[in-house]
Symmetry: C3
């Protein structure tokens, strides 16, 4: 990431996707009036406009966009200008049918919804760079344009592609990665099941096959997919940079989309932005929101980021789309701010009358500006306007949670010991335990320098390279506390089991390896006796080969009855903990309590359901407080509550469902 200035100086950017091409011209005028009423400072424009901007190949029509940008600028609304390449026009696919993406069953993905072409089609890459370049050439100097928004949510709805274009690119990618077929055969372990390749052109895509595909091949396919998508981004970004200086972003979907390694992507953008939507079946979806926000800030390496999309109320693409209740949107938005967002944007400004997403909520819903939703939108705009000074303040954490997309990709492959032990579930469970304990976390890559953290938690580190294992071992030896969840350090970067058995790279840090995995049947559970408490465990147990570790929790019942379940190992100046089973959020509490003790971390004393986040500035700290509870709470705080402009003298009273932002002296916040 370069260090571009913030697109909307001295304010938290506020607005949403704006698609006026769906409306008659007179509505535009109403829109800008309402935007000003709502405190909107920036809108994202043009994200799905390719067909209008280039109605025929090479023929451009910018008149309507000229008019729109001028109108917005005249009204003081900045523009985040989109490239429309997430949805090529009908003529593109009619002209280049071979650029259509193909699914793993060979079904060509046709026109009529949306979704980019094959990420590997040369015609697509060319056409995408051309329209991006043309936009930049025309609007690079337009005063309204403060940022570039390349494409939309890379990886969905088209991530993997099995078209002939993709297969050709795959062979090139493999040659670059491995250099020789011997290296590829060794990395993929093709001696198994007789898969040895004698020529590059014999390598095909991991499409439909009689049974499970080579997992190392599939892991590389995930890397390839990610790389190809990122190459598409770079081609557009570079086409823009030839003509324009504003920062370039593309909207991520942290912890909601899985095809993109955001550690790598964040290096490519000038400003990190993220889309986040609540998952309706989850009654605690605000915990997942916090996770997503922390992950976004972490891939941005702590710098400010923009929440590029969220919803004012329900979405439309889930099974039962739960509407947000009064106040919920404010809690959601302020949580993003509390976790580092300096921009709060929505999809979208005005609800569409037509199309697949007409039941998606908007800033101006179908019920119009007299609606509850618009009132809350305007109120949120005012509130964000009152906290502009938070811009560029930072979040600090003593705890790092390891998050590695490569491990996610590898663990998600087929034929693991148990389908029921999943990266995402464990990540959420450990995160939620820390969230409920009021412990602020960063996410980190297992190869990062972790020495600045008191505690490192590894909820799902199935793939952990030898080098990463050494990194974690050094961290412990240097005085850190490491907590590792089961099924960890099993395979290397080629999804090959480590020599020395399961967990070998962490043997020193944890004082054990794992002799055998012991999955449980559906509906089965067992107990873990720990510090006089009986915890319930399910899904998974392990037969540990303890090599120095102290047994802290013991299985009672289940496949490992009487054997060690939770261990603690002193190594160098630090401590390595290991939890060999699946404990739910509640059962993790006493384990984490003991781990906090080792790490010297004090959990929050706020009532459960009250989320306190601190942003640290040079001259002040800002506590963002969100009350998810149905009753009022009090929080010991000193300073000025910025939303209301009132003083807080010792105690902040936060009504049910409300939010507050308190400025205090540095270090005085919490």
């Amino acid at each position: 990431m370069s260090n571009h200035p913030w697109p909307t100086p001295a304010t938290i950017a506020y607005g949403g996707d704006y698609n006026p091409e769906q409306w008659p011209r007179e509505v535009w005028d109403e829109d800008v009036v309402l935007m000003r009423e709502a405190g909107v400072t920036m809108v994202s424009v043009g994200i799905f406009s390719w067909g209008l901007l280039e109605p025929e190949e090479g023929v451009f029509d910018f008149a309507w966009l000229d008019e729109l940008l001028d109108l917005l600028h005249a009204n003081g609304i900045a523009v985040d200008l989109g490239t429309p390449t997430a949805s090529p026009p009908a003529w593109f696919f009619a002209t280049y049918p071979h650029a259509l993406a193909v699914d793993k069953h060979g079904v060509v993905q046709g026109f009529g919804s949306r979704g980019m072409a094959s990420h590997s089609a040369p015609e697509y890459r060319r056409a995408a760079a051309r329209i991006a370049g043309e936009l930049a050439r025309r609007y690079g100097q337009h005063p309204a344009v403060v940022m570039w928004h390349v494409h939309n949510e890379y990886g969905v709805p088209v991530g993997e592609d099995f078209s002939p274009n993709a297969v050709a690119a795959w062979r090139v990618w493999l040659q670059e990665r491995y250099g020789s077929l011997d290296a590829l055969n060794a990395a993929w372990g093709t001696a198994f099941w007789g898969q040895r390749y004698g020529r590059w052109e014999h390598v095909v895509a991991p499409a439909a096959t009689p049974t499970t595909v080579n997992p190392a091949m599939k892991l590389d396919w995930a890397r390839f997919t990610d790389d190809q998508l990122r190459a598409c981004f770079r081609a557009e970004r570079d086409a823009i940079r030839a003509h324009a200086d504003q920062p370039v972003t593309t909207n991520f979907m942290a912890h909601q989309s899985w095809n993109t390694d955001l550690w790598a992507w964040a290096q490519e953008v000038d400003i990190v932005s993220d889309d986040h939507y609540l998952w309706s079946p989850d009654p605690d979806a605000h915990v997942a929101l916090a996770l997503s926000a922390d992950l976004t800030r972490s891939v941005a390496r702590g710098r400010p980021w923009i929440l590029m999309e969220h919803s004012t109320s329900a979405v439309n693409w889930q099974g039962r789309n739960i509407a947000k209740r009064p106040g919920e949107m404010h809690r959601n938005a302020l949580t993003h701010v509390g976790r580092g967002a300096d921009g709060i944007m929505f999809f979208q400004w005005r609800a569409s009358r037509s199309g697949a997403e007409k039941f998606h909520s908007a800033m101006v819903p179908h019920a119009g500006p007299t609606s509850r939703i618009f009132r809350e939108v305007a109120s949120l705009g005012a509130r964000l306007g009152a906290i502009g000074e938070l811009q560029d303040t930072r979040v600090r954490a003593q705890v790092a949670v390891l998050y590695d997309w490569e491990s996610l990709w590898a663990q998600d492959l087929e034929w693991r010991p148990s389908d029921a032990l999943q990266f995402r579930e464990r990540m959420r469970a450990y995160y939620e335990r820390l969230w409920r304990d009021g412990v602020q976390v960063d996410f980190a890559h297992p190869g990062d320098d972790l020495s600045g953290y008191r505690l490192v938690v590894a909820p799902a580190s199935y793939l952990l390279t030898a080098a990463q294992g050494e990194n974690l071992t050094r961290y412990v030896a240097g005085g850190g506390t490491l907590l590792v969840s089961c099924f960890a350090a099993v395979v290397d970067e080629h999804d090959a089991v480590h020599h020395g058995g399961f967990g070998a790279p962490l043997r020193e840090a944890l004082g054990l390896t794992v002799e055998e995995f012991l999955p449980m049947r559906e509906g089965e559970s067992c107990a873990v006796e720990l510090d006089g408490r009986t915890l319930t465990a399910d899904v998974w147990a392990e037969d540990l080969a303890v090599d120095g570790a102290q047994v802290r929790g013991t299985y009672s019942g289940g496949p490992a009855d009487g054997a060690p379940a939770v261990t603690r190992h002193e190594h160098g100046d630090g401590v390595g903990w290991y939890v060999s089973t699946r404990l739910d959020v509640a059962a993790l509490a006493p384990v984490l309590a003991a781990v906090y003790d080792d790490a010297g971390i004090a959990p929050s004393s706020a009532p459960e359901g009250v989320e306190l986040m601190t942003r640290h500035g040079e001259t002040a700290d800002y506590v963002v407080a969100v009350n998810h509870r149905d009753d009022a709470v009090t929080v010991p705080l000193e300073g000025t509550e910025l939303l209301s402009g009132t003083d807080v003298t010792g105690v902040l009273t936060l009504p049910a469902g409300e939010v507050a932002v308190v400025r205090s002296t540095p270090g005085g916040g919490r």
Copy 2:
């Protein structure tokens, strides 16, 4: 519909599909003897005989059919002569492989089961019209032939087709519908997601795509499919009419198949006929049967119709095919009669030894003519023979239930606020409430003149055009009572949200619009307080923008806690009721009771489970009584019970599971 005479004069037609080509010649002679024993008056012949009648393209062999028709005629059995076009022969598909239908994933639907070719393949339409015409030329004057049975159950198993033939026809259809691409782009709202079309040939079918297809496109695709199927029917019908004068029908599947808009289809046939099968998982499948019968009569605009297929006992194509218990077939058949059927036919006469449907029950089952089933078949034949005077008498209703296939198609599309709120479920629930209350209903189209009804119920009117909204508003203003269920009048004919918000076309009639939909999670429910009763609601709630309506029921708990749930609005001389949530059949009872009061309708006083239906003749009324209960009941009636020929003096005693048909003086029935 033209006004052809009834095919079997002075009798309720009785019989079934007859496929003697599956049996040796000597069985035919046994068949006609058994048919006479069973009181069979008409059989449907030749429905799957294309391969025998035209063994090679253009080569016809009618000898066996000549012999068969002569045999039937000699035995006094009339023939409903089928065209065999629902199952083209092997040679057809081998000769014209491009006429095979293709599914949305591009999978060609091969030979070996049954199912017509692509509805848009010119070769299919030509071949179908030719065999229909040849049959009519040969048998148009045959004295046995009293009716023509075109094809079989249009729309299943092949409805939608994505073959190149279909795509080509689709472009023509769209040009005819819209005239210009500008009109199409506006109707489909292609500005959303950048789907604008610049040339007709860029429009493809809504086949496999990366994500959800434009819903207006899919709605038009449903209309196109329906139109193409109907064009196939017309081609055959017209080929027959060139040589034959008998009435022409094709068998519908009302409320059991969804690709055909029966309001339109019924205009094309001379006599409406319908197939109906009980749905095994439904313990109250006889309610769905009644719905289907009322719907069939309604699309026939009250004229007599034929139950073309039902089953003597179990079918074979459901998961667990429940056999009918003794008496059940009689109850089913008489319910159809009570709701307007003047013909009772079965699939099929004699159970097949081979093939996909050999476990489908028949009039002559595998157990032969000594079986219980054949005894009941013969007894039913005798009973129908005793009630010939019901022919052409009519059913009258004071209540209309709105049923619109366009609304069904639109509501069934993807990405609605909740998958759990469904057209079919709501239609059944409201119908069942009325059925349990003993209230006879017609179905009606929302564009119909409704002034003859005291009450109009709209269980699932998601798509309601502005004109239809005006029609309903006029109806209320004119003194009618209107009851509207939630998620109504949301979109226009292009699946575009109405200007003015959800429900805008009914704002005057109902005194409200809907500000926001509030779906509930799976397993969630809330209460509605109504007239001192507490009802349970689930799936759905709404945030109502009440504009004059009186609140009659209020939410307690759930996403709309404390807000209006059920409203009543006086408009002009009438009343508009609105139910903004999902109430089950039981919970609907007090709502409907209040609505009946407004409408001046008196529910039946018969015990629940006793179904009383009246057919009105010029000189007499006929009460068809069906006792679904396990105990005997008494019903106050006066007249002659026709099945037994006994007098009913004040009270009819109906044993458990039994049926009766009582002739009384007009208006004396009920």
Copy 3:
């Protein structure tokens, strides 16, 4: 089967699949040391080595295999040499893409996992026979090679194939089977649904179709698939026999894979071998293991067989792969021995670091030779070494259970009266009842001479030809006891319902036919009153047309309330029992008790969960005892316990989970 000598004389063969090509050369030396430590006598080699043995078409590289076989031979380890044709190399599919298998939706099954090519591709058959022949030419005289292992698990993962090659072969196969199209049309009943064929080239495969395919066609398709697979086997076997004299096998998957009719396959191999894996969701998977072992011995017609693969602990390809607990592997292995296996082999020797099955347990697991698993492997090797004298002793049974793959294929087709009544479920339930009663069974084909058995049980004989019906009737008339479960003798070899109604071929033997099937809804059940007990039945009932049989059990409730449920019929010198509903394992107990009485069979008196199996030698009997219980038990026995070498004087005490093998005088065992 020919009568080849046992490959490992005077020992129970012991070992596993050995794939050293996955490991560096130095590991091989460690392997042979560990093999000797573990008592390994034989390993299977080369099963997935095609790509190494023939790196380019027609270019062979045997150097590594030469070295390997010499090394094994030098260490006294015999070799079961595999042909690698279950996984053709990448070059094969790149050179012959038309040899790829195709699924029923037309999706080509690509390279990257494993799975043979189209069974009908001439190029595949040629290439497979060539590599098999080359191996035999080179190693036919090698002293290490004691057996040939052709291919791997025919039928999975590629059984059915819908490629053009398969369709062409299918037409040839049909012409050979039927001779004329008239015969085919009659057999398939193509008059139904107008499917008559006028030319052979019009017949296609039963691939994707609009609705259910002709069931007789699908049944023939299953026979065709089985025949094609067997032809592939024969081609390889014969290529081997041209150069080599050792016995030839291929590994079956009895009762775990369904595409192969093992009665026919067993005729083609010299030694029967079988793979068996526990099914993790089944808490009593050891019962299914026993079934599989008895079935394997039965298709081998009682001769010794080899358990070619099982697992030391968990597998990797199920949803939650349950690990075996200490002792369980010994119980599994000894149960196979007790039921006739003279070889106990594993997949695989050393756990793979890479590939799809790296989480499959092995003899040398990832945790290495110090692990519990390796200790148990070595201990099992020692134990098997101690019971070499069991080799070629035989199992005897008084009860035959009918098992016919043709009936399984036919019953599994679509559109049966109830999806919930299944071949496999009924087979397991009846088998488990007999297992719990301690009654040793053989499996038999319904066309076999059954006169040697006291009791014949037919749990799932939906397809039973007239000739088979006569065979069973003769068996009863001759004094046998026959027990038939519901939905029996319904169709003939063409899946056509028998003349005379359901069950007609058994009318004499059972004294009844079935008038109608009465499936129950999900969740429904009813009672059967039998000998003063009330049993619970579900899924299925029947309306019996009793014709002489005595009613022993009567329905109470359900669709057949009050009617006969269980009958007993004396015919000639024997008795025919009929159970017309689904009784679970517990409810079957009193029925079987009554049947045992008729048959003169005494159930075992051992405690439930103690499995006693007897192998009969010329000079001694051997009781293999397996205690599946959590407590110790005593069993009355006299002789010598071979595993420990101790005398058993009247009572064998078997600790929880333990096994024993007791030599006693003939007839003294049990």
